[in-house]
């Protein structure tokens, strides 16, 4: 019997898993997909918000500001790309300026550090590519950008390094209370645990219903479309640029990414179906039109890909972070929409507090190592270290992804770590092979080959992303033809 079972391997679940690893708690994380970080965590703005736009006193306000403070050391420990690039909220009119003042006051109340209202001249000096129509801006230097799926993957890897178990392809289909805990059915396996954490993202309401038998809350998926641009545009602005807020949310944001690309998004449409990840012509047009308002000279034709993420909203508007009254020990971290990524490490701390109430005699995990083995990309290593890496493993000398200069050695490392890559997109999310200009055109055949070899699978079993996203259907006719000589029968040999 486990002490803790965590349902969902997004940023919320994986940070909770890592928190659990700091204590002597026997913990397992169940993920329905074939990789962690495969839902909302892989398709969002990847912003570490400052916390001025949350209503004071809410779960969001508290965990956002606290989470923001935790990011620098968290990302250092886990060797995850993070930059505190600051954010700007633009004001186009005097009415917008009043709103900036409101956000400023709200931010102060939430405990956001060093907020500042910039006048036009100062704004233009700081960000010359921002529209001349902006009359002022709220500057939040504590805001940052992070690799969102890299962080969740790193949390899971580090949690596993410290003893947490992971079960992929384990969709939870039943949860029932039993004496001293809960019994779950997941992936045809029965799993028992003293406590349960429900952080199933878009599906948290369904998991909750499995136990409570009634609908305590509904998750309303709101789609956000994004455009990602070529690295040549990565420095268009240094800060994350927000437009004057509307009722629909924070509006279309323009920002650099930690990988050196530029991102514009999201739109906001919903509620949608939970698996509706389509991009639409309308959405892509909207991004361009709205993006132009903040950065009119941006080269929108340099788009390299577009994607849609679904935010797990709920009618209450706030994060649900609570133990169940009817079923104590069934703890929810649900309805985690924006700023959920920022808040995740703070939510994880709060969830851990709720969990250890059930384990009063549990002590700290004295062997807990907060550091993940660093990700040494061959291409980024200094020349001397490159020689060392090559001496250790010659496969660092074979470049597989030309656009991002990722070697076979780098890819093999990402496959064999805890919570390692098993799919093409899994490799891309961990080490960027296939994330460049050619979008995997050259390297995907080679990455498929490496995955098959390292995982001991047939190449036709290797998928792009989800379990049904097959790439190859089988051999060509020539490969199926048996060119070996006909077996000679005993008769023909003449006995």
């Amino acid at each position: 019997m486990y002490d803790v079972v965590i349902i969902g391997g997004g940023i919320t679940g994986t940070t909770i898993a890592r928190s659990c690893a700091t204590k002597n708690l026997k913990t397992v994380l169940l993920e329905k997909s074939n990789d962690v970080a495969n839902g909302t965590t892989k398709a969002n703005s990847a912003i570490v918000h400052a916390g001025f736009d949350c209503i004071p006193g809410t779960n969001k306000a508290r965990t956002n500001v606290k989470g923001n403070r935790m990011y620098p050391s968290l990302c250092r420990e886990l060797d995850v790309p993070f930059q505190q690039n600051g954010s700007l909220v633009l004001a186009f009119t005097e009415e917008d300026r009043l709103h900036l003042e409101h956000l400023f006051a709200q931010g102060e109340q939430n405990g956001v550090p060093s907020l500042q209202i910039l006048e036009q001249k100062e704004l233009r000096r700081m960000e010359p590519n921002v529209t001349k129509n902006a009359v002022a801006a709220l500057y939040a230097p504590s805001a940052g950008i992070v690799g969102s799926y890299e962080l969740a993957i790193a949390c899971m890897e580090n949690a596993m390094d410290n003893g947490v178990e992971l079960r992929l392809n384990h969709q939870v289909t039943a949860v029932e209370a039993k004496k001293g805990g809960y019994k779950l059915v997941a992936g045809n396996e029965v799993i028992e645990a003293k406590t349960v954490v429900n952080c199933a993202g878009l599906y948290a309401d369904e998991i909750d219903r499995l136990l409570h038998g009634e609908s305590r809350y509904d998750i309303l998926p709101f789609a956000g479309e994004y455009n990602l641009f070529d690295q040549s545009t990565g420095n268009f602005t240094a800060a994350t640029v927000f437009q004057p807020p509307s009722e629909k949310g924070k509006g279309v944001v323009a920002l650099p990414t930690v990988e050196g690309n530029y991102l514009v998004g999201p739109t906001s449409e919903g509620p949608k179906a939970k698996d509706d990840l389509r991009t639409t012509r309308k959405g892509l047009q909207e991004l361009r039109e709205k993006g132009m308002r903040a950065i009119p000279d941006f080269p929108f034709q340099k788009v390299i890909t577009s994607f849609t993420g679904l935010r797990a909203k709920t009618s209450g508007g706030d994060f649900i972070i609570e133990d169940s009254e009817r079923h104590p020990g069934f703890i929810s971290a649900a309805a985690i929409d924006s700023p959920g990524l920022t808040a995740a490490p703070a939510i994880a701390e709060e969830i851990l507090e709720k969990l250890i109430a059930y384990f009063p005699n549990t002590g700290d995990n004295l062997s807990f190592n907060p550091y993940r083995r660093p990700v040494k990309r061959f291409i980024e290593a200094p020349p001397l270290n490159k020689q060392e890496m090559l001496a250790e493993d010659e496969r660092f000398g074979r470049i597989i992804c030309r656009c991002e200069a990722i070697t076979e050695g780098d890819i093999v490392d990402m496959i064999h770590r805890h919570a390692g890559a098993e799919t093409l997109d899994g490799v891309k999310r961990r080490i960027r092979a296939g994330a460049g200009r050619c979008q995997g055109g050259f390297c995907s055949p080679r990455v498929m080959e490496i995955l098959a070899r390292e995982l001991g699978r047939e190449i036709t079993e290797i998928v792009k992303d989800g379990p049904d996203s097959y790439v190859l259907i089988g051999s060509t006719k020539a490969e199926q033809t048996d060119f070996s000589p006909e077996p000679v029968t005993a008769d023909e040999k003449g006995g």
Partner: protein, 424 residues
């Protein structure tokens, strides 16, 4: 390490440049190829139609490559496979890596850039819909099918009528797949006329001109696509939506010269070709660094790549022997009405050692019964009549000694003159 000449890329361009440089007296040559074998993309082009101009016979891609590879091996020209060049400097210091030698640096007297091109992706043309698997660039699919021996799908739609897409339409059909259509946004094909006939018409594969894909559907693997007709201004025509059930979408929507290394060497790139500006000797803006093949501009036929690359190899040899006059010369070419770009961009008549120079260019539309006109400082130097020209087919005009003699310093303009432009 040292070498008189380093050639980056062992495809058709690099091979021809290496052989020609050797025949012009350079023996210390090193060819660096990132793939597991020489020949570049030709190795996956197992169809025929290569070499009609160069060898006056019809070869497959691998056969065409083999002639150069054998020639190079006979000459004992050194090459390294599975070797990726990481950096090239203006001083012609080349940094590369492979598993056998590790990290290597080569100080070269001259460099030939022959890295080829890459395919435009779905992202670049922003087709809306899901992120399902089953969307491949035609060249990647060609690699899976022809090199690795795997099929990528059984119900196929091809987007864009570039040559690789047309060739893959036939290839997939021969492998037993259903090829439902080739969908082309423009009112004319992006591929060679002979490929339309041999790859589509002969196999009853419909070519839908003035159509575009508006949505990809399918949760994990492509299940269907939506196509729609466009008007002359490329706007979608409402009510013309059609759904095609398929598991695979192959994209043949253009090629882009691959110039990341050129940028590292601070070479001036041309916004019209996306390749380096070159002079008559295929020398880039950095003296001693030459470029040829699809890294300079996207070619339609490999025969022209060979011709251009021979020029680069010969010039690199002259540079090594210090008999080449580097620089932008006394003439510069300018594309004018009807012409998208002209290569080379600069001409130094003194360097032309073969009594003629071929200017290569592409038209911006389909033209029937038109004239290619060459002007120099407002004066007509030469006119060539053409019955048919199309953007998919590279055009050329030859400057002979007598034409060059008529020219003075300044601009050489290439334009198309027509009674009326016929857009089919």
């Amino acid at each position: 390490m040292k070498a008189d000449l380093v050639i980056i890329g062992g495809g058709p361009a690099g091979l021809a440049a290496a052989i020609e440089a050797y025949e012009n007296g350079v023996e210390s040559i090193l060819v660096l190829e990132r793939d597991r074998e020489l020949g570049g993309i030709l190795q996956q082009c197992i169809h025929n139609g290569f070499g009609l101009h160069r060898f006056k016979e019809e070869l497959t891609g691998p056969e065409y490559a083999e002639r150069f590879i054998e020639n190079m091996k006979e000459k004992n020209i050194e090459y390294k496979l599975d070797t990726m060049v990481l950096d090239v400097t203006e001083e012609k210091l080349v940094t590369a890596v492979n598993t056998a030698d590790g990290l290597i640096q080569i100080a070269a007297k001259a460099v030939v850039l022959a890295m080829g091109c890459l395919e435009r992706t779905r992202g670049a043309i922003n087709i809306p819909g899901t992120r399902a698997s089953g969307v491949f660039t035609a060249g990647t699919a060609q690699r899976y099918v022809n090199m690795e021996g795997y099929m990528v799908g059984k119900d196929v739609v091809i987007v864009g009528s570039g040559d690789i897409g047309l060739v893959m339409a036939r290839r997939m059909k021969l492998e037993g797949a259903n090829v439902h259509a080739v969908v082309e946004l423009m009112p004319y094909s992006g591929g060679l006329a002979r490929n339309i006939v041999q790859c589509l018409n002969d196999y009853d594969i419909p070519l839908l001109l003035s159509h575009t894909v508006t949505e990809v559907r399918g949760k994990e693997r492509v299940e269907e696509i939506v196509i729609q007709k466009v008007d002359e201004a490329m706007n979608l025509i409402p009510g013309t939506e059609q759904t095609i059930q398929c598991d695979t979408l192959l994209l043949s929507v253009g090629l882009i010269p691959e110039n990341e290394l050129s940028k590292k060497a601070n070479i001036v790139l041309n916004p019209l070709t996306n390749g380096p500006d070159v002079n008559e000797s295929m020398e880039t803006s950095v003296p001693g660094i030459f470029a040829c093949g699809n890294v300079v501009h996207v070619h339609d036929l490999v025969d022209w790549v060979t011709e251009e690359s021979c020029r680069a190899g010969r010039s690199a040899a002259r540079y090594v022997k210090e008999t080449l006059k580097s620089g932008t010369g006394s003439l510069n070419t300018v594309p004018s009405s009807g012409v998208r770009y002209v290569v080379p961009q600069y001409i130094e008549p003194e360097n032309i050692d073969t009594n003629k120079l071929t200017l290569m260019f592409r038209t911006d539309s389909v033209y029937e019964n038109a004239r290619i006109v060459l002007m120099n400082n407002g004066e007509k130097i030469k006119t060539v009549k053409k019955r048919h020209m199309a953007p998919a087919e590279m055009e050329s005009i030859v400057l002979k000694e007598k034409d060059l003699a008529k020219m003075s310093r300044g601009e050489v303009t290439v334009k198309i003159e027509v009674e009326e432009a016929v857009r089919s």
